[in-house]
């Protein structure tokens, strides 16, 4: 019995340190971080258009498309599709995405499409695409916006994030940032 009472008291006091003091300390440190630890936001003409880390749905031909999302980019219910690789329904979904992509990008061959553009991400909120996935969208965007392809290409190059320390991990492009820059092109 004494052991139980000691356990209760030790639980309560240690809770103060680990579940109250510790998170408050980190919240304090976060005040020095970007946007005071509330998540970095991206603004266009003074208006918040998104969170830098969170992907958004882009369906308009004028914009670079993000990857498919199993939850439709719902940032209050992140999830993947959890479909297995041999699931026939799943493969039909991927086929439908390929068909949609080809309709919107008539100048592209099927064999040029990187699989990441027709498969859902793990979080359903993937903010990035690879440079290859951006490049195959150039023709569509240049046509839709009536601007030269080289301008779009240059934008992709300047928004490509290099691997960590230049050598570790894949190259990525933040789709929202790229699209905001696209809107800023004149």
């Amino acid at each position: 019995m004494k052991t139980l009472f000691s356990a209760i008291r030790l639980t309560l006091v240690s809770m103060v340190l680990f579940a109250v003091v510790y998170p408050l300390l980190i919240t304090g440190i976060a005040q020095l971080a970007p946007n005071h630890g509330k998540g970095e936001i991206i603004q266009l003409n003074g208006k918040t258009v998104g969170y830098q880390k969170l992907g958004q749905s882009f369906t308009n031909d004028k914009y670079f498309w993000s990857r498919p999302s199993a939850v439709g980019y719902n940032a209050t219910g992140s999830a993947g599709s959890n479909k297995g690789p041999t699931n026939a329904d799943y493969l039909a979904t991927v086929q439908a995405r390929i068909d949609t992509f080809l309709v919107h990008n008539p100048k592209i061959e099927k064999s040029q499409i990187p699989s990441e553009l027709v498969t859902a991400s793990g979080s359903g909120l993937d903010p990035d695409i690879s440079p290859a996935s951006a490049r195959i969208q150039i023709k569509r965007i240049a046509d839709a916006r009536k601007i030269p392809e080289v301008k779009v290409m240059a934008l992709i190059n300047s928004y490509t994030q290099k691997p960590l320390l230049g050598i570790f991990g894949p190259e990525t492009i933040n789709v929202l940032e790229l699209n905001v820059a696209l809107d800023g092109l004149k």
Binding site: A30, S81, N82, P85, I113, S115, S123, P127
Partner: protein, 575 residues
């Protein structure tokens, strides 16, 4: 792709290089030598003990240790149940999330107390900030420290020539929290915050996207939570998508940091054993066996994921970055594959890609990691699991050469071997009985009544072999106290909440009680000095022997189940 391979190799090397000095530090903490943090934490700990009425200098025998350990775990369970079932009206609930149903609260409370973190809810909608911090994050600390303390008790038994008393549980428990988990958590969460992980008490934000849609964004005190969920090898995510979520894991650096965080303490514990017992060679032998095991699971997984899926290739698109379903572009396939094995061998259970969508071979490797559950393993408990295999290895080798088996100068006799055998059999028993029951119900499409809304096949997210894998994975993850899942499985219902809850309880506490009891029994025995006839346990021969015991137990118990699930799916996909 080369950048991705170099990324994971560098990560493993850096983790290893830091684990060695950190293991030395941990050994110092547990032997009670002076360390850097004494001026800060000595007064804090004294205060805690005075308030709690605990004398931390009083040494305990193995039974007293277990009483203390189980009592405090019971308190945590009750407290967590209370918070989960009442979070709806309790404070710090800006998003207005409801209280949990009793069966979900039962599963969640047990799951976090036992360091598993099977999550049958989603963080965004299922819990309040109060629950995240006090109901769950607190358990991240103390459940990890429970395993670590139990491991040090076993260290003591191995170190002492002949002793009944094996140190003080509260001393090891609290020191694990204050000297090891807390300082590292502060460093890691600070790094996360500056890389874009939120740490705020504000609720959901609503914005208008560039295309003009309305978008709601869940936030919260994420950084502090994510740091300790990895350091304590807990793995329960703040958000539903766990560390695949861009706010939990914003970039390649944080991904490396979180992978480092989950591996550092299990790796350092092996070296801590070497310093603590002054048997560095034994530590390196254990490290060698575990690393061979880890790599033989990791390498096939990385290759399978990089090569991608033949079914996707068949549709005519290219897979320059490998199999991308369920993965994030910023991590890539190699780091996702590496993580999926790290998190399953180490019992973390956090994910940065969705295992349900992994290649079948990777799924098999992930499950094997949990079925063996002794390659590095969770905080402290990894070594406890491995200890069982050592005892069995010593016993079998003893039989083979016709000598009384001995381990570190102590005779291993019938009682110890019986306990070890029971613990070794318990793991496959819980996994296979659970999976068999669920598979039976599914095969007959049984109407489940109160247990599940609808017929049993309704809980599957995928048909065929993969559906079986979803159920097998769930029980494997529960029995290994891992917490990752083939998340397509519809698991928030009384059937899964209650059956996995029971598996969680048995598979956590019996594998702690067993090794502590064996160690306590051995510690009481007379010390026999090593002679020419002694079986040496720090040689490569014995290492291979242990690996063979692990391989035989896992292969014989689990191969049929794996053949029905992931292996059958593999051969369907690659026919």
């Amino acid at each position: 792709m080369n950048n991705e391979i170099s990324g994971i190799i560098a990560l493993f090397v850096v983790t290893l290089l830091l684990a060695i000095p950190f293991g030395k530090y941990m050994a110092k903490v547990y032997t009670g030598e002076q360390t850097f943090f004494d001026p800060v934490f000595n007064p804090v700990e004294k205060l805690f003990y005075r308030i709690s009425g605990i004398d931390a200098s009083q040494e305990m025998n193995w039974k007293q240790h277990l009483t203390a350990l189980l009592s405090i775990n019971f308190i945590w369970f009750l407290l967590s149940m209370f918070i989960l079932m009442n979070q709806g009206w309790l404070p710090l609930n800006p998003d207005g999330n409801p209280s949990m149903s009793p069966d979900l609260a039962f599963n969640t409370a047990i799951s976090f107390v036992v360091n598993c973190n099977l999550q049958h809810y989603s963080g965004e909608t299922g819990v309040s900030y109060l629950t995240q911090l006090i109901g769950l994050m607190y358990l991240h600390f103390v459940s990890a420290a429970t395993g670590m303390a139990a491991c040090v008790i076993v260290f003591n038994a191995m170190r002492n020539r002949q002793a009944e008393k094996l140190g003080n549980f509260y001393n090891y428990f609290l020191k694990s929290c204050t000297r090891i988990l807390l300082p590292l958590s502060i460093i890691v969460s600070a790094l996360l915050v500056f890389n874009g992980t939120p740490m705020t008490f504000e609720g959901k934000d609503t914005i208008t996207t560039l295309q003009g849609d309305s978008m709601k964004v869940s936030r919260g005190p994420v950084a502090a939570f994510v740091a300790i969920k990895h350091l304590g090898t807990n793995g329960g995510g703040f958000f539903g998508a766990n560390s695949a979520h861009p706010l939990e894991n914003p970039n390649y650096f944080t991904n490396a940091l979180e992978m480092f965080s989950q591996m550092i303490i299990p790796l350092a514990f092996i070296f801590a054993l070497g310093y603590y017992l002054k048997r560095k060679k034994l530590a390196w032998t254990i490290f060698g066996v575990m690393t061979v095991g880890f790599l033989s699971l990791t390498i096939p997984t990385v290759i399978a994921e990089i090569n991608g899926s033949p079914a996707i290739q068949h549709l005519g698109v290219v897979q320059p970055t490998g199999s991308m379903e369920g993965k994030e572009v910023r991590f890539g396939t190699a780091a996702s594959a590496y993580w999926s094995i790290a998190t399953t061998v180490i019992s973390t259970g956090s994910v940065n890609s969705m295992h349900d969508s992994s290649m079948p071979l990777s799924g098999a490797m992930q499950m094997l990691g949990m079925m063996i559950n002794a390659f590095y393993g969770g905080c402290g408990v990894g070594i406890l699991n491995y200890y069982i295999f050592i005892i069995l290895g010593v016993f079998i080798s003893g039989l083979m050469v016709g000598r009384t088996p001995e381990f570190l100068g102590k005779k291993v006799e019938a009682r110890e071997v019986k306990i070890a055998a029971i613990i070794a059999i318990l793991h496959p028993l819980l996994i296979l009985v659970g999976s068999a029951l669920a598979a039976y119900l599914t095969a007959n499409d049984t109407p489940m009544g109160w247990w599940f809304n609808g017929n049993a096949t309704g809980w599957l997210n995928n048909p065929g072999y993969h559906g079986f894998s979803e159920m097998l994975y769930e029980y494997t993850s529960s029995a290994a106290n891992n917490g990752s899942g083939f998340e397509g499985l519809g698991d928030n219902n009384p059937f899964w909440n209650i059956t996995t809850g029971i598996v969680l309880l048995l598979s956590r506490f019996l594998p702690i009680i067993g090794p502590v009891a064996i160690a306590g029994l051995l510690a009481n025995k007379k010390y026999i000095p090593a002679s020419a006839g002694t079986l040496k346990t720090d040689t490569s021969t014995f290492a291979i022997m242990t690996l063979a015991v692990i391989g035989i137990i896992a292969a014989l118990s689990f191969f049929p189940a794996l053949a029905l699930g992931p292996l059958a799916e593999h051969f369907t996909l690659f026919k």
